[in-house]
């Protein structure tokens, strides 16, 4: 109920409306608060929001074809790509004019690399033709169709022109199609050839292995967290140091240590052979595959599971379990019906943390994963640093981001994000 007088809104002592007067007095406080958080806000904006936005944009941005070959793209509009016939002289002439400028600016190789993502061989075709085209005169050397096909056979193939026309759009869904093992063709979105289909499998594997790692972390972490929360202070502190110790060791060192442990001539295999549990000829293959990745990542991510679990368990008073027992519950019933439900928020928080970290993990799978145990992030890294297909890398990253957000949303719907506690 608003406290209004018969004549309208309540007035402050000086006669201004109370709401206005209140807003004015709060404004100073708000400005102060804003000033205090401004450095962080700017930092977050520059280092987090902006890169993500730029990544999202890069995954659809595709101006290069139109920018480099503006006349060709215009001329190709008249050409029916479904006809199966080569475009006419007009297109070739436009292409030569565009290319001469591009060669002058040394832009044709970049275009070649871009189109090479779609059609293998394009890169070398553009590079080789570039030199020859640079020597041509746009007026005197006409007609160009025959001349260009002489320079490189590729210009006499319908597919080449189809590729150029298909990818001449400034914003493309091509990278996203590639990211899910499809491609943009004249006939619309088509599946990639079977030999190039690896990304869906990789996404599936990433999700599956992240789930396994999260599950393993829950199973291993829960008893530790329980001990931490229930032991005497001194013992618990010692245990806590053991949990935190891996945190203080370099990630690379820990991963490399696993390499030493798990390899076929490594500590674990040697021990098993020495104990006679494993035959010397049949040493276990537990590295450079999925098992290696799961073991190493479970170990590395375990503290992220234990700490939120511990902080939740610490707040569960022992009197609940005692009450349950006094009411007639056995140890197991008291745990399962009373203690466990109250520790679920900790499991939820730990699981979200571990799962999200796992799904984007890169170094560990790279070192111990071999070919079978790598994650989607390794593929992203490959496209960023080796193949230089940043558009595809951005599309993969975007899909990963979307997947995490969807899972987060689903988690919120099922468990409720209110039930997640990261601390007290």
């Amino acid at each position: 109920m608003a406290d209004t007088t018969a004549n309208g809104p309540v007035l402050a002592a000086d006669g201004t409306p109370l709401k206005q007067s209140l807003a004015r007095s709060l404004r100073r406080q708000k400005m102060r608060a804003l000033m205090l958080i401004a450095p962080l806000l700017v930092f977050v904006l520059l280092s987090f929001i902006f890169p993500i936005a730029s990544m999202l944009f890069r995954s659809v941005e595709n101006g290069i074809v139109q920018d480099t070959l503006p006349e060709t793209v215009a001329a190709l509009q008249q050409w029916d790509e479904q006809s199966g016939e080569l475009p006419d002289e007009e297109v070739y002439a436009a292409f030569i004019r565009d290319m001469i400028i591009a060669v002058d600016n040394k832009e044709h190789t970049r275009l070649g690399s871009r189109l090479n993502y779609e059609e293998t061989g394009m890169s070398s075709m553009f590079r080789r033709s570039g030199r020859a085209i640079g020597r041509l005169d746009p007026v005197e050397d006409a007609p160009f169709k025959e001349a260009l096909i002489d320079i490189h056979d590729g210009w006499g193939e319908v597919g080449t022109w189809q590729t150029i026309k298909t990818h001449a759009v400034p914003l493309t869904n091509g990278y996203f199609l590639n990211a899910v093992d499809m491609q943009r063709t004249v006939d619309g979105a088509q599946a990639q050839p079977e030999s190039k289909q690896i990304l869906i499998t990789l996404f599936g594997r990433t999700l599956q292995m992240s789930l396994i790692i999260t599950g393993a972390c829950i199973l291993l972490g829960y008893p530790i967290a329980w001990l931490l929360a229930n032991l005497r202070m001194r013992t618990a502190n010692l245990l806590m140091i053991l949990v935190l110790l891996p945190f203080w060791t370099s990630l690379l060192v820990r991963t490399s240590a696993w390499k030493v442990m798990l390899q076929q001539q490594g500590v674990i295999n040697d021990t098993l052979v020495w104990l006679g549990l494993v035959d010397d000829a049949a040493r276990l293959v537990i590295i450079n595959n999925q098992i290696g990745t799961i073991i190493a990542m479970t170990h590395i991510l375990l503290p992220f599971m234990i700490l939120p679990m511990y902080s939740v368990m610490q707040t569960i008073p022992p009197s609940y379990t005692r009450a349950a027992k006094s009411l007639g519950a056995t140890n197991w019933t008291a745990f399962w019906r009373v203690y466990f439900p109250q520790s679920v928020p900790g499991i939820g928080a730990g699981s979200i943390l571990v799962f999200i970290l796992a799904i984007g993990y890169y170094i560990t799978p790279e070192i111990v994963g071999g070919t079978k145990g790598v994650f989607i992030s390794n593929r992203i890294a490959y496209h960023i640093s080796s193949s230089l297909n940043w558009g595809l890398a951005a599309a993969l990253g975007t899909i990963l981001l979307a997947a995490v957000l969807i899972l987060y949303w689903a988690y919120d719907r099922i468990v409720g994000i209110d039930n997640v506690k990261l601390g007290g």
Binding site: A323, A324, K325, S326, G328, A329
Partner: protein, 366 residues
Amino acid sequence: MVNPTSESAFVQFDRVQKSYDGETLVVKDLNLSMPKGEFLTMLGPSGSGKTTCLMMLAGFETATHGDILLNGTSINNIPPHKRGIGMVFQNYALFPHMTVAENLSFPLEVRKMGKSDREAKVKRALDMVQMGDFGGRRPAQLSGGQQQRIALARALVFEPELVLMDEPLGALDKQLREHMQFEITRLAHDLGITTVYVTHDQTEALTMSDRVAVFDDGRIQQLAPPDQLYEEPENSFVAQFIGENNTLTGVVKSVSGDACVITLDSGEEIDAKPVNVSQPGERTKVSIRPERVEFNKDRLNPNAHTIKAQVKEFIYMGDIFRFRLSVAGNDDFIVKTRNAPDAVKLTPGETIEIGWLAADCRALDA
């Protein structure tokens, strides 16, 4: 306490000792027996061992030595969930992820009781504490007093013969606490339950209990009904701990049957009743309740010893007047008088004569 008749005892502690660290005894040689249906309160300062005793009875702590018997059989090796003892915890310990009805249903479920029986019992228990409409609520949606009632109902719903309560009213405000004191006593007597109640609040202990066991230093200092505890404390700890008390120290001058004369350290002589003293020359602490001190000149017994006192402070408390006096070197000597029309009002600074009946002044251990 000598070993009591075990046939009539429902709960019995037999020479029970408890140590946590192997160096000090938290409970030293505890002997206690309770008949069925009794409301017994364990009262004592914190660290006196009363909660430890309760936890041993509930089964959450094991006795280092001695036997705890329930209905004549030793329960030392019976786990808590098989003892069938209802318990109300200090912070209620209502399960926050269950509704009130689920909380109450829990002990019945673990006893594998059928659904319809469970529902009937839960309803009856809720009605019993006047919370019939609250079955669907979560504990967090209830006020402290309501939670208290639910905790009580939950401890009673499976019809235990023995109920333990660990400072159950500690978190409530004064008015609610007084109301719940009455409720709990009424329920316990109506249902004929044997109750062990732990508190450090002496008012609670005095108003609720059939008998009170005053704990200190791991021992029962006195086990007696409330009136006896207040009026006839057996040692100076109990006298100090229960109610308000004035203490004077001195030496016994003479003892003659039911009365003795004490020479105070300041040299004055007073009359007292020998409780823990028998020989002249023994040191003693005499204890006298503020309301038994007489300072109205007209009512002083001419034959009794009187003593000089200087008025230090007057405290108006509405229903009573309270005066702080300086008596025989004790500056915290309190006297009280009812706010009646003929009440004498003393003014700070004046010197008066005070006295008392020898029977009200107990000469206890030094």
